[in-house]
């Protein structure tokens, strides 16, 4: 690993100036960043450890929303009583990701900013516009079974790896950041960028900006769930995943939230499917039509065309299960 300096400040006012110069990275649990540094994909000169900044609290705010500190560990968040009760989709998404050990280490902020597991991004023998801008993309005509079908460009088809972000997208979470210019709030759905011509620029954070918290609006009355389809039953990235919340009254969909993982270059909020479902019949035919409409925008490659069928079927299955479970009652 390339040598670097390490600093663990105790307040945000000290962390941000330290974290702003080029070549500096904030360190959370290290489960992704340390791995990338060992592989030489990330080569920071300075690390600023954010786990001493007292960002590890989870608190309910007066308006009923939930503020989650950026340094909260994934396992702590998944087990928190308010998350299990009011935001089940989030607890389930977190528990479907990684392993027990990794969830104990990984932070919320780090999970938001984790990078793709596209095999070409990880191999410096390969062309990858995300790792080496302008070098090309070997995934386009290579082993692209794990790659994305939504939000792709000619430069990059790497899938976004996070489960947590898919649930946060469905929940309309808001990311709170603090940087040299002060604080601001970014809707989760606007934190990650589509690859376009610059897949190396993955989010809308500016230099030195530190994620301090994620705020969830008050719990939905609708029941929510997360389903992940993968090559083995545990400890694998999603081929396709669905985060959904559904409320039904008089056989009509009165509330719907739908987001997809494993198929998008960013956590994929399924706005088109939501638009078609809201106010319409709560039946399988409508679910299928909405799923197909969302996936109509897919661009597939030789190895990942199956993801369209898989994502559609998973959307339908999840909505069917939520309907049966007495959504809206």
């Amino acid at each position: 690993m390339k040598p670097f300096t390490y600093l663990k400040p105790h307040d945000i006012e000290a962390a941000i100036p330290a974290g702003t110069p080029p070549g500096t990275k904030y360190l959370g649990g290290g489960t992704n960043l340390v791995d990338l540094m060992r592989e030489g994909i990330e080569q920071p000169d300075h690390l600023v450890d954010i786990t001493g900044l007292h960002l590890d609290g989870i608190e309910e705010l007066p308006d009923g929303s939930l503020r989650i500190g950026a340094a909260v560990r994934n396992s702590t968040l998944a087990a928190h009583p308010k998350v299990r009760k009011g935001y089940r989709v989030l607890s389930e998404a977190l528990l479907s990701g990684a392993s027990g050990q990794l969830r104990n280490m990984a932070t919320v902020g780090g999970n938001l900013l984790q990078r793709t597991r596209c095999p070409y991004f990880y191999s410096d023998a390969a062309a990858c516009n995300k790792r080496q801008p302008g070098s090309g993309c070997d995934a386009l005509d290579g082993f692209n079974r794990s790659c994305a079908v939504l939000g792709v460009s000619d430069s990059c088809i790497a899938a976004h790896p996070s489960d947590m972000c898919v649930a946060l997208s469905a929940l309309d979470a808001v990311v709170h950041v603090q940087g040299p210019g002060g604080t601001r709030e970014i809707p989760l759905t606007e934190l990650h960028r589509l690859p376009g011509d610059t897949p190396n620029i993955e989010n809308t954070l500016e230099a030195g900006e530190l994620v301090t918290a994620v705020v969830l609006p008050p719990p939905l009355s609708a029941r929510s769930t997360y389903r992940k389809v993968r090559d083995r039953a545990s400890y694998a990235f999603a081929l396709a995943s669905v985060a959904a919340a559904l409320e039904i009254e008089d056989d009509k969909v009165t509330r719907i939230r739908l987001a997809l993982g494993g198929v998008g270059t960013k956590p994929w909020r399924a706005y088109e499917a939501e638009r078609l479902l809201l106010g319409g019949p709560a039946d399988e035919q409508a679910y299928r039509r909405a799923a197909e409409a969302e996936l109509a925008a897919a661009t597939v490659r030789a190895g990942n065309a199956f993801k369209v069928t898989l994502a559609e079927a998973t959307i339908v299955a999840v909505l069917r299960d939520l309907s049966k479970a007495g959504a809206g009652s």
Binding site: L47, T51, R88, S91, L102
Partner: protein, 166 residues
């Protein structure tokens, strides 16, 4: 170099460490604590699992400097009926993954007792009593055993679940 202090298996250690040294390398190379194994060195196999302040972690992805002030337990610091149970249940063949398996199992049982749900926990509520084989399989998925001793490992863990706190 930064001086850090850890409590390793009950004894206090003060060590100078470069920031890029992993906790696993510090344990194995500097402190000669070789129970934790370097299987994959990328958080995929779990052979390096240790307990940090009672929580199981992958020591290969932990920068040692970030664990200043922590209490670290490796297999060398474990004395627990689970070790006998692994023998009785044939919970290993070559034994390479076993230190990680046992540290992970102890951390996992603590999580279970504390009521932390897993991906297979019905309705997110952990039932009282021993974890089911299905729960153990899910919760131990971060520890690979290339000999395939999984059934023995699961039986060994079930044998000791709930018998004592760490």
């Amino acid at each position: 170099m930064t001086e850090i202090q850890i409590k390793l298996n009950g004894s206090v250690e003060r060590i100078d460490v470069d920031p890029w040294v992993s906790l696993l390398d510090l344990l194995r190379e500097t402190l000669k604590i070789t129970g934790p194994k370097k299987g994959c060195d990328q958080g995929a196999c779990g052979a390096c699992t240790v307990l940090a302040d009672g929580r199981r972690i992958n020591a290969c992805l932990a920068l040692a400097v970030a664990y200043d002030g922590s209490e670290i337990t490796t297999i060398e610091g474990v004395s627990h009926p689970i070790q006998e149970a692994f023998i009785h249940r044939d919970g290993f063949q070559c034994g390479y993954c076993t230190p990680g398996q046992i540290c992970s199992a102890l951390g996992m049982l603590g999580e279970y007792q504390a009521g932390m749900p897993s991906a297979v926990t019905e309705a997110g509520e952990v039932p009282a009593g021993k974890p089911s084989p299905e729960e153990i399989r899910e919760r131990m998925s971060g520890n690979l055993c290339r000999c395939g001793a999984y059934n023995g490992i699961i039986m060994a863990i079930q044998d000791v679940a709930g018998t004592e706190n760490r």
